[in-house]
């Protein structure tokens, strides 16, 4: 007797394609083509000279220029140094917080995790702006306070240095490191820790000799992940580094296409980009190897088995103290510094005289700023449309990868993952180049659609990772039953699979929506008068010297957007995806 599965095995062969499958294939195919096309565009750009539309021969001149220019090596070394400090700050801090949350009886753990995750409400470039006002050697409020307190002649701290910008980037990436490490600590075999405890091994020695070796694959994954993020980071190096002559990969590429003299050097930036794509892909090899190793150290336990958390006693104060200090440094102080600056006619250190000059004048001007309202509208538009498109495309790709038997689905999955390790600035660069190239045929250059397209392309990888994991958990029988009943593939996806993976879908939607709200790196390359978003609007003010205006708009943006973003966040938490949602 034939079962439904057998019937299906006979019916659905790789070449069986109905109209709805064709639709899914079409959507996935266009997305894959866009990803591969844009990456190819970067390589193509690197072989040409001149601006888009100009005739050019194909050669390796850009690579020669890049590799013979000492400036390139300086930029590469600076980028590595910046990434090194970022890792040195984010991974240890992330480990400490993850350890307190996962391995101890710290009170109110859920609240601690939520507070760490609330970092998503505060865009990175705003934190960087705040830190300039806090720790600059000459105008930093903290530095001035310390100098007055200890009667120092020179500022003890300096944010306008490579370690300084690495520190700020590290602070912003700490929640992500915490989440990555927390997942490993949660899956760790607690029996070994308990055995060490029974044998009288001290808690600190247990941490060093038992727990750390058990989670090393997760630590290595976190280190590599932070490295790729830091290499691609634009926000902090752009806000703090550029004025202080510190150029990392992203800011150097930005200046190649926005030069202080001559024409944009698209070819040279393409050469930089091609090398960075190669480096990013190479870095993914140890990352996946480490991830593969991590499963060896995990245990599968029944619901009845629970590891005994370490009793902190009074030491819980240390845990919450550290967390409080982190929140103070990462969110509260930068925001307060910006608020202070926004009240003044020009940047001044806190004093009675400055307080007397403080007013809300800048805020009243904001209320009538039509350009700012347009930027806010564009931001909201992107926050609504980009995630919706990502869900549609990711669902199509994930369905092909996890539910179909189509040939080449593994390749499709690999292509969908590609935007994850590759710096997003490069996708923006390739999109700008392409849009310029076709601007007389398809006039999309400078429109919001270009931003929309590149955001979607870059975040498909995230959407497909989450939806792959969700779809794989849905048993095939449900789908097969529907197929036997003659239901089309599209309807099965819509009526059967998507409702079952709703939490994953909602989570992807919210995460990408919040990313669209925070995004600066891609927007700064592509935005034009009609496609300004809040982040580029603030960046334009800051970069053009309007520090007070930038601070006022940033504070207003936080005040207006935070309730909306926070409600998104609370909703996402309810979907029980908190652990992975901090980034």
């Amino acid at each position: 007797m034939q079962t439904a599965a057998d019937t299906l095995a006979l019916k659905s062969r790789p070449w069986d394609i109905d109209a709805s499958k064709l639709l899914l294939l079409g959507i996935a195919g266009i997305a894959a083509l866009a990803i591969v096309g844009l990456l190819t565009m970067i390589v193509w750009m690197s072989l040409r000279t001149g601006v888009p539309g100009q005739l050019s021969s194909y050669n390796l001149n850009n690579y020669t220029l890049l590799l013979t220019d000492p400036y390139s090596y300086r930029v590469m070394m600076t980028t590595l140094g910046f990434a090194g400090v970022t890792i040195a700050v984010s991974v240890p801090l992330g480990f400490v917080f993850a350890w307190f949350i996962e391995r101890t009886d710290l009170p109110h753990k859920a609240l601690a995790m939520s507070l760490l995750g609330s970092g998503i409400l505060f865009p990175t470039f705003l934190k960087a702006m705040g830190w300039v006002f806090l720790l600059h050697p000459r105008i930093g409020i903290i530095n001035t306070f310390l100098m007055r307190l200890f009667d120092l002649k020179n500022a003890p701290l300096n944010i306008a240095t490579l370690p300084g910008i690495g520190f700020v980037e590290g602070l912003t990436l700490t929640p992500l490191a915490c989440v990555m490490i927390a997942a490993a600590l949660r899956g760790m075999n607690p029996a070994l820790v308990e055995a060490a405890s029974i044998h009288g091994v001290s808690k600190f020695k247990t941490l060093l000799r038992v727990e750390l070796p058990l989670i090393w694959p997760a630590l290595i994954s976190a280190v590599i992940w932070m490295l790729t993020v830091a290499i691609a980071a634009f926000d902090v190096p752009g806000v703090i580094g550029m004025a202080n002559n510190i150029f990392t990969f992203s800011t150097a590429v930005y200046f190649m296409i926005n030069p202080n003299e001559g024409l944009p050097r698209y070819g040279l930036s393409g050469a930089y980009g091609t090398i960075m794509v190669g480096v990013s892909l190479i870095l993914m090899i140890p990352y996946f190897m480490a991830l593969k190793q991590s499963h060896r150290y995990q245990i599968i336990s029944g619901k009845s088995y629970q590891s005994r958390p370490m009793e902190l006693g009074r030491w819980w104060i240390l845990g919450w103290g550290l967390l409080g200090l982190y929140l103070l440094l990462a969110f509260v102080l930068p925001l307060l510094a910006m608020f202070w600056v926004s009240l003044l006619p020009y940047v001044q250190l806190p004093s009675r005289q400055a307080l007397a000059a403080a007013s809300f004048e800048r805020y009243s001007a904001i209320a009538f700023d039509a350009a700012l309202l347009r930027a806010a509208w564009n931001t909201l538009l992107l926050m609504a449309i980009v995630p919706t498109l990502i869900i549609v495309i990711s669902a199509a790709i994930s369905w092909i990868v996890t539910r179909s038997r189509m040939r080449g689905r593994v390749f499709l999955d690999a292509v969908a993952f590609l935007p994850h390790p590759v710096p997003h600035l490069l996708f923006a660069l390739a999109t700008a180049y392409l849009a310029l190239l076709v601007s007389d045929i398809v006039p999309v250059y400078g429109t919001i659609f270009v931003l929309m397209a590149v955001y979607v392309v870059c975040w498909i990888s995230f959407g497909t990772r989450v939806l792959n994991n969700s779809m794989i958990q849905v048993h095939r029988e449900l789908e097969e039953a529907a197929q036997v009943g003659g239901v089309s593939t599209f309807r099965i996806l819509w009526k059967v699979i998507l409702p079952l993976i709703r939490p994953g879908v909602v989570y992807v939607w919210i995460w990408t929506s919040l990313s669209a709200y925070r995004e600066l790196t891609m927007a700064v390359v592509l935005a034009s008068p009609k496609s300004q978003v809040l982040s580029t609007y603030i960046w334009g003010q800051w970069h053009g010297g309007g520090l007070g205006d930038a601070a006022a708009i940033a504070v207003t943006m936080m005040a207006i957007m935070s309730p909306l973003v926070a409600s998104f966040w609370i909703f996402a938490r309810r979907q029980q995806h908190v652990a992975t949602s901090v980034s």
Binding site: H136, A371, S528, G540, G545
Partner: protein
């Protein structure tokens, strides 16, 4: 006698023909435009895209007032879509790139100084407009330097700016050479802000010579603490950088911030003063060229100049009664010859030196 008369006639006819040919070449297919048809054409273009530095023309506040006055003057109902964009060199590069790629320009009006206008002219990216023929208040002198591809909107002597609270008066520089003087420079060593653009140094070379400028640049870089763009004077006022080696609008910056009580002092670094001659031009691929022309015309009108002065303390010495005209007359300040500057960029090796100095500044 008869032969001489015939010869004279032939010369006369030749002269007329030459004059005719010359005028035909000089203004290829220039329609006889007047202001009225221009206003009528501008009425069909609802918005004007303008990308420039965030504080340009008084920033948001100034531009909203400008928009109202502009509409009132010409009976329009247009919107000025102002966006804070990259600095003038980058913006010129963007205009050229978009023009070569065949797309519409990001900005309908381009604001820049002579170095950028020479670059744009070389790439043939700006519209030639018979400004003085169309707009009654635009004189030939206002349009002649960039060959009618722009109109002088304000003149800004460049100079050093410093924070008077951080640089004592007796140690303050009086000229560019003082910046690298070992007796004074310890005050700002490692804290000196240097603009990332080479233009001011290129233009200084016309007075100092190339080698002296290169030597000066090397010494200056050794004292540098960071890079500040023109328009970022608030970072000097804040004390982030106590002094800036050069800024495009030194006097205007000082006048503007001193009224707010900020301790900013400007010093013209050379004599004759190295100067930015800021022009407004229209990219060939502008999406709203008629509205753009009217906007340029408005900015050099008495009303436009008054508003520019009100918000930015900037003005053109070619507009009668302007602050800059009065300042130059009262102080007897001599400025660099704009023709000489422009020709240096176009023909005299200015671009080559620009490139060399840009490399130096990058290191």
């Amino acid at each position: 006698m008869k032969m001489r008369a015939v010869k004279k006639n032939i010369v006369g006819i030749r002269q007329v023909l030459l004059l005719f040919l010359f005028s035909a070449v000089a203004s290829p297919s220039q329609p006889a435009e007047t202001l009225e048809p221009l206003i009528a054409a501008a009425k069909t273009e609802r918005e004007l895209l303008f990308v420039a530095g965030p504080t340009t023309f008084g920033g948001k506040k100034g531009l909203s007032e400008l928009e109202a006055a502009f509409n009132k003057k010409f009976g329009l109902n247009s919107r000025i879509l102002f966006t804070a964009g990259p600095e003038m060199n980058s913006m010129a590069a963007r205009v050229i790139t978009e023009f070569k790629a065949g797309g519409k320009s990001t900005t309908d009006v381009y604001l820049g100084s002579l170095g950028q206008f020479a670059h744009l002219q070389k790439e043939n990216a700006l519209q030639e407009v018979n400004w003085s023929g169309i707009v009654p208040w635009i004189t030939k002198q206002m349009e002649e330097i960039p060959s009618r591809r722009g109109v002088l909107v304000y003149t800004s002597p460049r100079g050093i700016i410093y924070n008077a609270s951080l640089v004592p008066q007796d140690k303050a520089p009086k000229k560019y050479e003082d910046l690298i003087d070992p007796r004074l420079s310890p005050t700002w060593a490692g804290k000196l802000a240097i603009p990332p653009y080479p233009n001011w140094l290129v233009e200084l070379s016309l007075m100092w010579g190339e080698e002296r400028v290169k030597d000066f640049t090397r010494k200056l870089l050794a004292l540098g603490g960071g890079r500040l763009r023109y328009g970022e004077e608030e970072r000097v006022i804040s004390g982030e950088f106590p002094i800036m080696a050069n800024i495009g609008d030194a006097l205007a910056a000082m006048w503007k911030w001193q009224t707010k009580g900020a301790p900013l002092v400007a010093v013209l670094g050379a004599s004759p003063g190295d100067t930015s001659y800021f022009h407004l031009g229209i990219p060939k691929n502008s999406g709203h060229p008629n509205l753009a022309k009217l906007f340029v015309a408005f900015m050099v009108s008495r009303e436009g100049q008054a508003m520019l002065d009100k918000h930015d303390f900037r003005s053109s010495p070619l507009v009668e009664g302007s602050r800059m005209a009065k300042y130059l007359r009262d102080t007897g300040t001599m400025l660099q010859d704009p023709k000489e500057l422009f020709n240096f960029y176009l023909k005299g090796g200015g671009f080559k030196l620009n490139e060399e100095l840009a490399k130096l500044l990058k290191q």
